[in-house]
């Protein structure tokens, strides 16, 4: 087990290294560099005539004149050694400050969504497999198709519309007005939880649709396994049998795709955030892209990906623990 964990950790490090390279390239793609944009932002409207020399000076000051490979090492070194993601230009402060507690908000949204996804999809998928071919099963299949076809921003809009009608106007966002800028307190957390369900439902939607199908398919396979018949032939009561034998195995593919779900959720996050007015990393990421504030965008992209890779790692461990056959193989 130790060896298995170590191997996965090393794999994770290599992946993250490559990811950071890719993120860095994306940060470098927009035409012009920070010096241009910085100068433009700083002096525009002030009447100062910015010369190429001024920009060059800024460039040197920020270390932007060095070759790309050095800049990459500066950047990644800062992150790994000092937790320093560089400057956020649009906000004239450090990236870390801008991101701040949005990391925790996003983590909250993520876990609320994941928990909701599995609480719904696992029992329903199992039920659909046991009642295969019933009206409920067909209904769920249609729901799954729709769930995958509906663009998430549309779903967010529709949900927001109905939430507004049923629960009043203050349902969007993550906090009620009085808590928005208040310091953290228990009351604020409670307020957030009351708002969290809407983004969680919207973000969970397609993951639920997808996982119901996965659970249903594996559960159907498992139900036909000889080991289930054999247990039944030993007189194991039906409900206990379903849970102990097929259902226990039907959650394995769910566990193995946790990282995939996180990926899907983060992928939808920026757009859902816009519609629902969330003040999380998704919204910030989109804003950073629109402002071409690539340090912020790169940092967020890196953080989100790191979360996905880390969840992949956790899911590997969890799976190895759930399935005794894996430990030997690895």
């Amino acid at each position: 087990m130790l060896r298995f964990t170590l191997e996965r950790l090393i794999g994770m490090a290599i992946t993250m290294l490559l990811v950071s390279l890719m993120v860095f390239i994306i940060m470098e793609i927009p035409p012009g560099d920070y010096a241009d944009r910085y100068a433009f932002r700083k002096y525009s409207g002030t009447g100062v005539n910015v010369t190429e020399a001024d920009i060059q000076a800024i460039r040197v000051e920020l270390g932007l004149d060095k070759p790309m490979i050095f800049r990459y090492f500066d950047w990644i070194g800062g992150i790994v050694l000092r937790g320093d993601f560089g400057q956020a230009f649009a906000f004239e402060t450090s990236v870390v400050k801008v991101i701040g507690d949005k990391v925790w908000l996003t983590t909250g949204i993520l876990f609320a969504t994941l928990i909701l996804t599995y609480l719904i999809s696992i029992p329903i998928g199992i039920y659909a497999a046991v009642r295969r071919g019933s009206a409920v099963d067909y209904g769920l299949t249609i729901f799954s198709y729709l769930g995958l076809a509906l663009p998430n921003f549309l779903l967010a809009l529709v949900m927001l519309y109905f939430a507004n009608r049923w629960f009043g106007a203050d349902i969007g966002g993550l906090f009620s007005a009085e808590y928005r800028d208040a310091p953290w307190s228990l009351a604020k957390v409670w307020d957030m939880l009351k708002h969290l369900w809407l983004p969680a439902v919207v973000l969970a939607w397609s993951a639920v649709a997808y996982q119901i199908q996965t659970v249903r398919a594996t559960m159907s396979d498992e139900l036909n396994k000889l080991s289930v018949t054999a247990a039944r032939a030993r007189g194991v009561p039906e409900r206990r049998l379903l849970i102990k034998y097929p259902a226990r195995l039907a959650i394995n593919p769910v566990v193995s795709t946790i990282g995939f779900d996180v990926n899907r959720i983060f992928s939808e996050l920026p757009i859902v955030a816009v519609v629902l007015g969330l003040t999380d990393l998704g919204e910030l990421l989109l804003k950073a892209y629109l402002d071409l504030d690539m340090n912020v965008a790169g940092a967020i992209l890196l953080l989100l990906t790191f979360a996905i890779v880390f969840m992949n790692f956790l899911s590997d461990l969890l799976l190895a623990w759930l399935d005794p056959r894996i430990k030997l193989g690895a």
Binding site: V19, A149, Y161, N164, P270, L285, L290
Partner: protein
């Protein structure tokens, strides 16, 4: 088990047996593609989806002809107007030909804003092949005829209402269908060729090449895809023309769509590269490209096609999402996502719900591709008959 030369059979039974035999013969001698087609035809939902998608594609291809008006033509007399539903009857009696009532402008008694209200005393009849704006169908066939419209060239019908600039939602949706579907097609094609090259290299050479490619694939699979697309889309210079943006978008979408398919190609190649006929070809000195295209590809084309079909929805949804948040195509281009940009708020749901009609197209297109993909997969899988 029944023997046809059995003397006890009546001539009728014999004919019946003969017929069955012929059918079976046809079945066994049919090519793989014919078999897939037969099985696919039995899949009713998939057939329906294919027809729907075909209609959409046709409407998109001949958008200039199908749409009554241009995508940016404004009707200043009918701004944010609701859909006009053709009718056969009104207060003044019935007619065999569908028509709509005209509108007149009045002041809202409360807000004193100018609003359009239906005028029951005027009627405009709907016709096929009416005269209208001059357009070039397919970009080179000039015509001023349009599939459907009003007899009176000075009046306009807006089947699905108009937006805040008085542009016809129906026409815009038709044009958007062309853009969105074609972006999907180009994106899928690009990622297909990338997948073929990358997966092919990994599967064919194996070893170190394979290892490196696997690592890169892994990286692309872990980065959340929409934020990644956004990063590239954000980098498009603001001054680019709509055409440049269009092709850049297809490139961006295609650039990261390949990992799933590449993986499939790789594993299929790895599993068959040791099969006798491939080994034989290699020993006979055939070149790698030839071995891949001539010997290895045909054996799993059907799987590739299925994968291609089911990767469409991702392209379409991604394009829609990017354009929706303003990082994809930009006005004056029209795509489903661009159109939906106008429907970003809860206010739009309440006041101009018809602006959401393009969303129906998105859902239908995505559903159709998914259902067709499932149908094709069932049809291509020889074991699906056992079910």
């Amino acid at each position: 088990m029944t023997d046809m030369s059995d003397p006890d059979l009546t001539p009728k039974q014999k004919r019946q047996l003969e017929k069955e035999h012929q059918q079976r013969l046809k079945y066994y001698s049919a090519s793989q593609w014919t078999l897939i087609w037969w099985r696919f035809k039995r899949h009713r939902a998939a057939m329906l989806a294919a027809v729907l998608l075909g209609l959409m594609a046709l409407a998109g291809i001949f958008a200039e002809f199908v749409a009554p008006y241009g995508p940016v033509t404004r009707d200043t007399k009918y701004i944010e107007g609701p859909p006009q539903i053709p009718k056969f009857c009104d207060d003044n009696g019935c007619s065999l030909r569908p028509f709509i009532n005209g509108t007149k402008t009045e002041r809202d008694p409360v807000t004193l804003r100018a609003i359009s209200v239906p005028d029951p005393d005027t009627r405009y009849y709907i016709s096929l092949f009416v005269k209208g704006e001059s357009v070039k169908v397919l970009g080179f066939i000039p015509t001023d005829r349009h599939l459907i419209g009003l007899d009176d060239p000075d009046q306009k019908i807006h089947f699905w209402g108009t937006d805040d600039l008085g542009r016809d939602v129906f026409s815009r949706t038709i044009y958007a269908t062309r853009t969105s579907l074609s972006i999907g097609v180009l994106g899928v094609l690009i990622s297909f060729f990338l997948a073929l090259a990358i997966g092919g290299a990994a599967g064919f050479f194996g070893g170190m090449t394979d290892n490196v490619i696997q690592r890169v694939t892994e990286v692309i699979r872990v980065v959340p895809i929409i934020p990644l697309y956004m990063g590239l889309a954000a980098a498009m210079p603001k001054e680019w023309s709509t055409t440049q943006v269009y092709f850049a978008m297809t490139l961006i979408l295609g650039l990261f769509g390949w990992p799933t398919l590449a993986r499939r190609i790789r594993s299929q190649l790895l599993s068959i590269r040791n099969e006798d006929y491939v080994v034989a070809a290699r020993l006979a000195g055939a070149r790698p490209r030839r071995i891949i295209t001539q010997h290895m590809l045909p054996s799993f084309t059907s799987f590739i096609i299925v994968d291609l079909v089911i990767s469409f929805p991702y392209m379409i949804l991604s394009e829609t999402a990017l354009s929706f948040v303003g990082l994809g195509l930009r006005p004056p281009s029209v795509s489903w996502g661009v159109l939906l940009q106008q429907a970003q708020s809860v206010r739009a749901i309440e006041q101009t719900p018809w602006l959401f009609i393009p969303a129906v197209f998105v859902v239908v297109a995505v559903l159709a591709f998914t259902v067709i993909g499932d149908g094709l997969r069932d049809a291509a899988d020889p074991y699906s008959e056992a079910k």
